[in-house]
Symmetry: D2
């Protein structure tokens, strides 16, 4: 067991956080209870590349309790919670992660993680999986398969699959309904705003909040901004999504027009160069920029720097750029995932479902080793429904059950008007 | 040309309504302008079975303008607007529809419509299509195909397809994103509440509104009830949908528990026997029952009648049942689609997109006659996007366009952190 | 007993409506039960000038049950429900009201009502009270006092009081918290949108709705428009109200700027000339205009007419003006209170509290005859709280009660940090 | 100049915070620019007792810039931001404040502040003012008067006034509409939820949030909880407020019933013993308790302790109580104002208006020294409107202006129907 973390002395604080998260993740905790006696992951080598947060700590604990050997790294240079990393190391697990790493260090950490020679990879954004493919010998027969946590990663992996470059099976955990329809909407929705508020303490009420993209994340962010009293403007490239935003009561316009109006800009597109020089130069003095998409390419930091005469740090997650035109523009969390950089990421309650899906997917990969050809695989609807049911029960909620007559009716076609 | 309508003298009033709808349906109107010179439907025989509303009037006018021969009937015994039917007849189109028909008359009207020997069927709920299959010779080679407007109909037709009973191709207009993600959510959402208000004038604010089902219609109805100040309770049979309702802030519980609490019950499930005797007997005095699902089987009218000592008509769309237990329960619109029975159905603005999809689907069926084997077909994503784009433009809304670099980025996988 | 109504044959339909309203007005109904044995209004002559709706029917029945002699007229040329008026006449009460009267007929009806030589006047908008003062001898010692239902009326009467022109005591029912904080916000909020939807069936979702004025009515209308999916713009003249609208998430701008953007305009100011020629000429083709303020002076109908080449009736409550600039502008309900002209006014549930306040105020005027000098009087806080408590109980809602220790704490000042 | 603070080394960090707040307080900053040349507070001694936050830092800087001598202390044992206190000391101002003081130290700090022998007191909660009255000689003729920032303080001071104990004039800044209608609703609304999220990172969506009290603070908290996806339950003792909550769509019930249902409890009443033993014993395992009222008496900490077998600190603002019944209950921020204990208090944007009112009130007290008899004074409506106007302008918002004809109309009474 090896590790590269920031400060082992933070382990106790990290442990408290993971403990707190654990009680808010009843679905995952119940799965652990159900499986841990049989040790279904005994001696399985798992490499994980996923935001080092308290919830990930719970996932790691769970996988370990089922018998796995684990090595872990972060999947974003700014998302590691150093106290959590310390606690994981303190529990005897190899981990290579600290908050605020350089790109070089970031990839070194991924490669350190890969030295476990994983049977299973758990990924978020596909950086580990791509690296496994880039480094010869890493995508060999010892690799049963991998999982992918996020939209961006699934898009990258499907692109690899399309051109025949994907060498082992991947389960698209992201595409589980209990994952992407929940963590993106409810998790990012709350935590992206939370990150902006922690970094700036601005009043959201009365602000013009520009949300770039109206996919799952954008919808969640827009809804929470509205719920906090903002006037929301949505930008889109897809007319169907744009039309939904319009009928949901938001203003919809091109980013160049939104640039004048916005007080706060939040990118959620998964694309690059969503906020660029032409937009920045039209913004109001005092505008705040934040990104809730996976990579820090949505806001052009390069444009900010090229157009600035100086910049300074207001606090750890708030940087002021003094533009040549005299305006001050503020970049939150260095343009990286704002809910992880400036807040604590998704609340435990939504990660509970994501990580229950992760765990069941890892178990499925182990069960079906050698049987799945390379490709991106979906999660079974039944797994999704099982997780939703367990979640509802953990909240004390019961629902109706179809009677045989009702099932029959739904499957038939004879009964009309 | 033949017709069976209620009162031809209403034609002028109906014409005014259709004219009013037409100006609120710019996408369909623009398609008409684009195609009408070439008469692509010249001599094509079209049988339609779809709510006779002012918006359907615009669709009929459009199809006629493109050259078709048309026969039409209603798809719900209580949804025909008699003035609109009169105006359609007055424009020289065969129509067999009046508000408040018996089941027998309803099917007679469908059969009258079928006498045109259609090349194309346009259906909503699949009653016409099923009847076409029931009556020998009606699903022969002269039938190029059909379209289906609603979820319930698509479910029935897919059930027929599964067991090999479907004899001609059907385009599932309902499954277009610009259709089911819009008319169900925004259209039924507003108009179901509108129907209840017109029938009762109750204040929605402060009422406990029980929404059965949290599919597209249920979400729309729940959102509008909330928007009007109600406290919303959702019932579901699917745990994923139930969990979404819970995280959207609603209460979620079995119908039997909701029965005590509700002031207004709205069924949106597409299933039968959602509100039955056991629920009705637990309801508060004064409870209102309405259905926004396709068929009038969701609320058990039979249970109401069996448990009543008397009933009376408060107004055309509001019937009081005096239960044996002394409570009065009110049934809106006879348990039929409340937005059509007690209001005017979907606003023109959403039918615009539905019917643009209908028109393009009819054109596609004509273009591909003889080439499509029996089965249920989806709408192309590109058609969906074209309609959304046209709709946004009609509202004066512009959106962003991906640059080549952005497209490239979205299609690649090499660029990671 | 005399009457001037439209059609006595409508009495049965009106009776059904009043019956329906009665069961939705439990507070007023309970007061009736409490007082009717003692006939506290025996031989008291009451003149009422208040929208002739089904709820007013319940108030009239109640006052009659307590012993009064009654004469009644409408307080708006377009708000009388003819079937309700018929039923009131049919119950043997003098009434002078029909829908769609000329200004001359309107004032004739007020004067017919005054012929009862009232001891008590019940007014809404102060037209009756002003007329009582204009016609010599009508404000003499036989008049114990009056009540006033609405903001506009109270403003007029306080203006009269300021200049010494008010000759008898008026209880400002409007200023009861259980009145103006409820019917304006919840009642007009819902019913103004209801009126617009009934008149036009437009989809509110995605529309730009301009609300002029952010007082009680404006807040209610804005909230419901938002709740139905609109993007709301508020115009104001008071900076505090404007700032609240802004922080509530709405856009705030002068009417001249809103004129370009709006799809639907709703005036709620109580002032005149809020929408005038300069605004109308800048509006989009198809814009809808409606008024939810007391008098039809908020939208300049004169400007519409002067700038039109023609106009036509789409339906009873929707008139199209074809402007010289080629645009069509639609005026709903002739610019009169849209919730009364095009819908059914406030739902019974809110009128319940208003009219409970009316009844208790009438009883107070009778009790204190000869003791109150001319002036505008407030409602006691205790009456307000009693009505709110009765209303909550009728909804099955219980609340907490302060303990003696808590009361003590709230009255003291010694306990600090 | 003297001070008692935690750590002067934090001054630089505190300065950055105050600088950041200053740019978000344009109304106060503009007043500073307008007045500072004339030094209207030259040699005036000002004692302040108000949460030591970055916004208060801006107020202190402003008062100093106008010439005053200042001594300052906190008004809550847990609300002082130590870095801000350090920066104030570093700017040469007497300050006695640190986060987490004992009650004894708290009052010592107040007395240290009083040693400046103030001409003006600025208070928040009335602890300083009461202490000025308790200690002989402190309410003498050198005291021109004071201001009071919060509802609780005004209630205490009006109680003193009623019994003739108030010895100098107080301007009730709290009662300015631009103060209490904004900071309570928009400020506490956002920041109370912010405090709970920072302390626990729980997902608000899907939680049952019980809000005790539906005054300004309660409304704000309820609205934001709803906006974040919670299901909100309101408890009240006033039927009018309870009825409003009900019609706003919330559930309303006594606290004893809410105790079973709630996941998060937030008290906002200004009263004591709102959450006591009988409630705590009925709560779910994992329930969170937070207070957003002025004093820490709303949640009975005593009851928590008496019913616990142990307690532990999850983090600085989250304490776990393990009850004898086996449940764990969590107390956020020690039951003190959660938005100040666990977050940063009101955002600068709302304090801008509060403190503009404070500044103008201090200037008024100086202008009218010797002319105001003891008593609680209101703020002029014109001052309120001036501040709202300045705020709107700082946001780039313009509003309409009444024409002379419109003013005339509003003041008259002759124009009726």
């Amino acid at each position: 067991m090896r590790f590269r973390i920031n400060n082992l002395a933070l382990a106790e604080e990290g442990k408290k956080k993971i403990d707190w998260a654990e009680v808010h993740m009843p679905v995952l905790t119940n799965l652990k209870k159900r499986f841990q006696e049989k040790l279904p992951l005994k001696d399985i080598r798992v490499a994980g590349c996923l935001h080092v947060t308290k919830e990930t700590g719970v996932l790691i604990r769970t996988i370990k309790a089922l018998g796995a050997n684990i090595a872990w790294c972060g999947c974003n240079p700014l998302s590691t919670q150093d106290d959590v990393a310390a606690s994981i190391a303190d529990e005897g697990i190899s981990i290579f992660a600290s908050r605020g790493v350089s790109k070089e260090q970031y990839y070194n950490d991924i490669r350190s993680t890969m030295e476990i020679k994983p049977n299973i990879t758990i990924d978020d954004g596909a950086d580990l999986t791509v690296e496994m493919h880039n480094i010869e010998g890493r995508q060999n027969e010892e690799v049963y398969g991998g999982t992918e946590e996020t939209t961006t990663g699934v898009i990258r992996l499907r692109a690899m699959e399309r051109v025949g470059k994907l060498k082992y099976p991947i389960i698209a955990v992201n595409d589980a309904e209990t994952k992407h329809d929940f963590d993106n909407i409810y998790g990012t929705g709350q935590s992206a705003l939370d990150g902006i508020i922690r970094a700036t303490n601005v009043l959201i009420a009365g602000k013009n909040v520009v949300v770039a993209g109206y996919g799952h994340v954008g919808k969640g962010v827009a809804r929470r901004a509205l719920g906090l009293g903002a006037n929301v403007i949505v930008t889109e490239v897809d007319p169907i999504a744009g039309l939904k935003a319009k009928l949901d009561g938001y203003r919809v316009m091109p980013m160049i027009d939104a640039s004048h109006a916005g007080d706060i800009f939040i990118t959620t597109t998964g694309c690059r160069d969503v906020v660029t020089q032409e937009h920045i130069l039209k913004m109001k003095n005092g505008a705040l920029l934040a990104n809730a998409g996976h990579f820090n390419v949505e806001i052009s930091i390069n444009s900010l720097e090229l157009n600035s005469v100086s910049n300074k740090k207001i606090n750890e997650n708030n940087h002021e750029y003094l533009l040549k035109n005299g305006n001050k523009i503020y970049l939150i969390g260095e343009g990286r995932l704002v809910n992880l950089a400036a807040a604590e990421g998704h609340p435990s309650e939504v990660m509970d479902m994501s990580f229950a899906n992760q765990l069941l997917s890892v178990l499925r990969l182990v069960d079906s080793r050698g049987k799945l050809s390379p490709g991106v695989y979906d999660i079974d609807k039944s797994q999704d429904q099982e997780i939703a049911k367990a979640k509802l029960e953990s909240m004390g909620i019961h629902i109706d059950v179809l009677s045989p007559q009702q099932k029959n009716y739904l499957e038939g076609f004879n009964e009309g008007t």
